[in-house]
């Protein structure tokens, strides 16, 4: 009985320590590195454009935010089941996702591009990619798009992280990869990116590729959405957004 008593006390203590103040907003980011938006550094801190934006938005909206790394593959289930309260992980606002969760106003919008091995000279079209192997990250608009437009003629490889897709591109195990233009720019500028070149943007499909990246929220939590919207509007207004952006990118990434 003593063992049981000890174990229950320990479990109760764990749960008690797990319960934090209710007003903290747990902002989920992808636990897998997604430079230059979110990536851990050697000191164990998360850094990147999106991390700075999260901090700025939360400060402007006067919220206490706790950045919570969560597996990208399960980030929507984590939101729905209440492990996190918001998603700020470069998640595009799409019709599919809107059936399950809500989004704030967009806070950035960039095109979707194809990057290919040097020597693979193609157009970013279904005909151009026919017979090739294309890598995408799991649970992204790129995966949905590739499955919709390229699957069948093109072999689609699905990776858990964008880094791993890039790694296989450098290793030559895939011919091309489809991803966000800025994430790919970062890769192409790296040492490993010497393998590859930018092919161009894919034909736009609003229904799949969506209308920019927003904060993902549980359905019905309108108060929280309004606070995020106000925070985003505030940092756009007072110049913080542009200040942060200029540290990471040459051009504006807000779109329109």
């Amino acid at each position: 009985m003593k063992t049981f008593f000890l174990a229950t006390t320990a479990a109760a203590a764990l749960i008690a320590s797990a319960a934090t103040a209710q007003e903290t907003v747990r902002v989920g980011i992808a636990a897998e590195p997604y430079p230059p938006f979110t990536a851990p550094d050697a000191a164990g801190n998360w850094v990147g454009w999106e991390i700075d934006i999260i901090n700025a938005v939360c400060e402007a909206a006067e919220m206490t935010c706790e950045i919570t790394p969560t597996a990208w593959d399960g980030i929507i289930p984590a939101l729905v089941s209440g492990r996190i309260d918001a998603i700020m992980a470069s998640m595009s606002i799409t019709e599919d996702r809107l059936q399950t969760i809500d989004f704030s106003d967009p806070y950035y919008n960039t095109p979707t591009v194809i990057v290919a091995q040097n020597g693979v000279e193609i157009e970013p079209t279904p005909e151009g990619l026919a017979g090739l192997i294309l890598g995408v990250q799991v649970s992204t608009i790129h995966q949905t798009y590739a499955q919709q437009y390229f699957e069948g003629e093109t072999e689609i490889r699905t990776y858990q992280t964008q880094d791993e897709a890039n790694q296989d591109l450098a290793a030559g195990r895939i011919d091309a990869a489809q991803a966000d233009s800025l994430a790919m720019e970062d890769f192409l500028n790296s040492e490993a990116g010497a393998c590859c070149h930018l092919v161009g943007a894919v034909a736009h499909d609003e229904a799949i590729l969506g209308s920019g990246v927003g904060v993902g929220l549980r359905k019905g939590e309108d108060d929280l959405r309004e606070r995020f919207n106000a925070g985003i509007a505030a940092i756009l207004e007072n110049g913080t957004y542009d200040e942060i952006t200029s540290e990471y990118f040459q051009t504006s990434i807000y779109g329109n």
Partner: protein
Amino acid sequence: MRGTVTGSVSGAVRDWLRPHRIGLIALALALAVWAGVSMRWDWIPRYAGLGLEGLWRTLWLLGLSILIGSAMAVPLGLAQASGPVWLAAPARWFCTVIRGTPLLLQIWLIYYGLGSLFPQYPWIRQSELWPYLRQAWPYALLALSFSFAGYEGEVMRGAFRSVPHGQLEAGRAYGFSRFAVFWRIHLPQAIARALPTLGGETVLQLKATPLVATITVIDIYAVASRVRQDTFIIYEPLLLLAVIYMIIAGLIALGFRLLENRFTRGLGV
């Protein structure tokens, strides 16, 4: 023989019809019906084709990795049980390393670790093997085979050791060659001793296969993940997947029980 079989069957049936069991079975059926009615299963027809392909890939990865792993386990076990030090030590290290580290890490080391070396050696891309090296399944098969060899090699070490020395000496006394002693006496005896653990090891190996989905191999688990991503349905694909794995594990257990009955009877172990 036949009498006892029918006897045990009717006994099993009677066993299942005890009052509390009928209650539990009714409860389970009610749960299943509730799940069938109130959860979403409309995605199944759309993904049935992909699912079968994935299931097939899971099964042949399982089968092939067990074959290759077992073939490796025999020399690994023999080297440790009765080999010279320069063979026994590396074999023991192989088993220790495989059993001492997570399979997930081994799979990633073999796939991404080896992959990160490719750009440094351009000749690899020119080689005949390159079309295979570009695929993900050879790495998955290699990692799963190594893993099975590591665990089963340890079992085989014990099995080779436990064959009574007298039997081997008797074989030599009859004028058998060293190879014949190994092939006719030592190996069959060791296999018969290792066989009872093989069913359990096979189920463990089955449970390890979904990890290959993390290196882009599309097994049954990867298909279920795709359903989750396409439809945003969280629990239903996972529950169906759990049921599928339970059925496969049940069939494996049943198969090995039949095999064991036959094999051990013939050998009189």
